[in-house]
């Protein structure tokens, strides 16, 4: 599904990602963990298509196509979805208006017929019931005055409506209390399936208790320094990021001895 090879990215002339290699298969859920400043959010922004990030070298293939050639909106059409860490509020634009415009844009891009108001509302009702999102949130302006939990749930509703085949969840757990975290995670789990892959980016292991990944990668200084199964996350939580970095150091230093 997604194939990242030797990806090097810089922001304002400073290199942040120093050669990422990552391969995500269909239906797989991967988690990327790492300390602050390791390059987690840079990776998510590059996947979303943020223009201020410069790709120095390497490639990102999505379903065999070069993802970097697509604009931000084309990526959504191709099936990439980004759940933002800090979803921006848009006063004046109603959530339903926004969702309908988004869905019909994506459908148009995919060569599907656009939905009329009645068809759209039916779909939206289905999805929001599944995710237990209150009706009034849909009638309000996009993320305007939403609590942290409501914003994240709103992201998941958008994901459910747009039906992407690949989703990046960027620090979805940040700013959530345990109840909100459980609700959001349960929404995400309902959207898991054999055809949808996910990349969960997080600082803490806590989220991965609820969204259990198939693979865990640890990112430090712009590189994936180790990968493993879901247990790697537990080990990290117990021993801290220091452990893995020391461990890595030992490994890299060994041959020179």
């Amino acid at each position: 599904m997604l194939e990242i090879k030797d990806l090097k990215v810089s922001v304002d002339g400073k290199q942040i990602l120093n050669g990422i290699n990552l391969s995500i298969g269909q239906g797989e859920v991967h988690a990327i963990m790492g300390p602050n400043g390791s390059g987690k959010s840079t990776l998510s922004q590059v996947l979303a298509g943020r223009e201020s990030y410069h790709i120095d070298s390497g490639s990102i293939l999505f379903l065999g196509k070069d993802l970097t050639q697509f604009s931000v909106e084309e990526r959504a059409g191709e099936g990439v979805f980004m759940a933002f860490q800090y979803p921006v509020a848009i006063p004046g634009v109603k959530n339903t208006t926004f969702l309908k415009a988004a869905l019909n844009s994506v459908r148009k891009y995919r060569g599907e017929e656009e939905l009329d108001a009645a068809q759209f509302l039916k779909l939206l009702k289905e999805k929001s019931e599944m995710l237990e999102l209150r009706d009034d949130l849909l009638k309000r302006y996009v993320n305007d005055g939403f609590s942290g939990g409501e914003k994240k749930r709103n992201e998941i509703v958008q994901m459910a409506v747009l039906d992407p085949c690949f989703a990046v969840l960027d620090e979805t757990d940040s700013g959530l209390d345990i109840d909100a975290l459980k609700t959001v995670a349960s929404g995400v789990n309902q959207l898991r399936g054999p055809k949808r892959s996910m990349l969960v980016i997080t600082h803490y292991q806590r989220l991965l208790d609820y969204i259990v990944p198939d693979f865990v990668h640890v990112l430090a200084q712009g590189k994936i320094i180790t990968s493993g199964g879901k247990d790697l996350a537990k080990e990290l939580e117990e021993k801290g990021y220091g452990w893995i970095q020391d461990h890595e150091k030992e490994q890299t230093e060994l041959p020179s001895v």
Partner: protein, 425 residues
């Protein structure tokens, strides 16, 4: 230039001799006032940001109107496509002349301006002569000097349908049209008016309109003006309202068209418990110049006023907002709000905004403010990340920015249509 207006005035008064009226004195003194003032330069405080050089260079002769014009249906092509006439009662000024009318409410009394000038209605005469700008105003003076077309509309009951007054102009040349409307709402009555100004592409006429509005006790007046003339035309508007006890006046000025437009809105809250709401929206492109000058005068206690003016400016357009709120010594326990917000879509667009409060009472609640900003690129990115094309995303955000001004008015269908035509060019 002033000579040419004076010359025109001499022959106009001469031609008009057979219809002598009490208004002739007003005309003469206005012409004298104009001759003294001319078109003020930027040194003149009230005209500081309004460049009148085109009027100093170019003479706009009064358009000759033909009373017996063929009653064609061409005016309908100027209506927004989504508007159904069944939802309105209407009056149509075609090329300066009242050519069509369809009135449903029998309690509406509608008279032509010439009838008013010939008659002896003291109440109307005092509205016409006394409700005037508090600044020196060449366009108001010219209006008094030359106006022949217009209406006196009085409501004594509740309106069933809003009254649409359509001004359409098919000419191309640089003629001047003068209109004057007097709106009077009797005690407990309501009056809903939508003025829609439209003209052919390339039309260069100058429309000068004066609206004088009087709301008696407990009356409710809503006045919407949508100015969608050609981008080459000129527009000057002076709107003035007085409210008696517990009366409510709402005004909405929507400026899209014209290369030059100047709007003055003057509200006097004269009776206790009165409320005034003033909204404005302007959307400038190319080299358009769009002015809104407001004045709210709180002269008595327990009144409320609310002003919200918003602008979206693209290309090399220039907008001016100058808002004054005066709270007189006796006007205790009033609440006045004023806000002007501007969204700049281009590096070269320019806004001059001056909100002012003059408060002489000590127990009042007043707020005012102004903002000028660019589009939030985070919001654009967010919408795009959901598949919405960049142009549509920006349009959505512009619409979000302006919607709170339009939202309150019955005429919103009109506004949206005109606005969308304008921004999705």
């Amino acid at each position: 230039m002033i000579d040419q207006y004076q010359k025109q005035f001499q022959s106009f008064i001469g031609d008009n001799k057979s219809n002598q009226s009490w208004f002739d004195d007003v005309r003469k003194s206005s012409m004298e006032s104009f001759a003294k003032l001319g078109f003020p330069s930027s040194k003149h405080e009230a005209w500081k940001h309004t460049d009148l050089s085109i009027f100093r260079k170019e003479f706009f002769p009064k358009a000759t109107v033909h009373k017996n014009q063929a009653t064609s249906e061409t005016w309908k092509q100027y209506l927004p496509q989504n508007i159904s006439l069944e939802n309105f009662q209407y009056l149509v000024f075609q090329d300066g002349v009242l050519a069509h009318q369809h009135i449903v409410d029998s309690h509406l009394k509608i008279e032509s301006l010439s009838t008013v000038f010939q008659g002896e209605n003291d109440e109307v005469a005092s509205i016409i002569s006394e409700m005037k700008p508090r600044i020196e105003h060449p366009f108001f003076d010219l209006n008094n000097a030359f106006v022949t077309e217009g209406l006196y509309i009085k409501s004594t009951g509740q309106m069933n349908l809003p009254l649409l007054i359509l001004y359409v102009d098919s000419h191309q040349d640089n003629k001047a049209y003068y209109f004057k409307n007097i709106y009077l709402a009797e005690k407990n009555s309501s009056l809903d008016v939508i003025e829609y100004h439209s003209s052919n592409t390339g039309n260069q006429t100058s429309v000068n309109i004066v609206s004088q509005v009087y709301a008696k006790e407990n009356a409710h007046i809503e006045h919407v003006k949508i100015q969608n003339q050609s981008k080459q035309s000129f527009h000057q508007s002076f709107f003035c309202a007085v409210t008696e006890k517990n009366a409510v006046v709402k005004d909405f000025s929507f400026t899209l068209g014209s290369t030059f437009s100047r709007n003055d809105v003057d509200l006097l809250l004269k009776g206790e418990g009165a409320q005034g709401y003033m909204y404005g929206l302007y959307s400038g492109v190319d080299h358009q110049h769009q002015d809104h000058h407001t004045l709210v005068d709180h002269s008595v206690p327990h009144c409320e006023s609310f002003q919200l003016y918003k602008g979206v400016l693209d290309d090399d357009s220039h907008a001016v907002f100058e808002g004054r709120v005066i709270v007189r010594e006796d006007a205790q326990k009033i609440h006045a709000q004023q806000m002007n917000r501007n969204l700049l879509l281009s590096q070269n667009a320019l806004v001059d905004t001056t909100p002012q409060l003059e408060i002489f009472a000590d127990d009042v609640k007043c707020t005012h403010g102004a903002t000028i900003g660019k589009m939030d690129e985070e919001q654009v990115f967010y919408l795009r990340s959901r598949g919405i094309e960049e142009k549509q995303a920006r349009n959505l955000l512009v619409r979000a920015f302006v919607s709170e001004t339009i939202f309150f008015f019955e005429a919103k269908a009109f506004c949206y249509w005109s606005f969308w035509r304008s921004v999705s060019r």
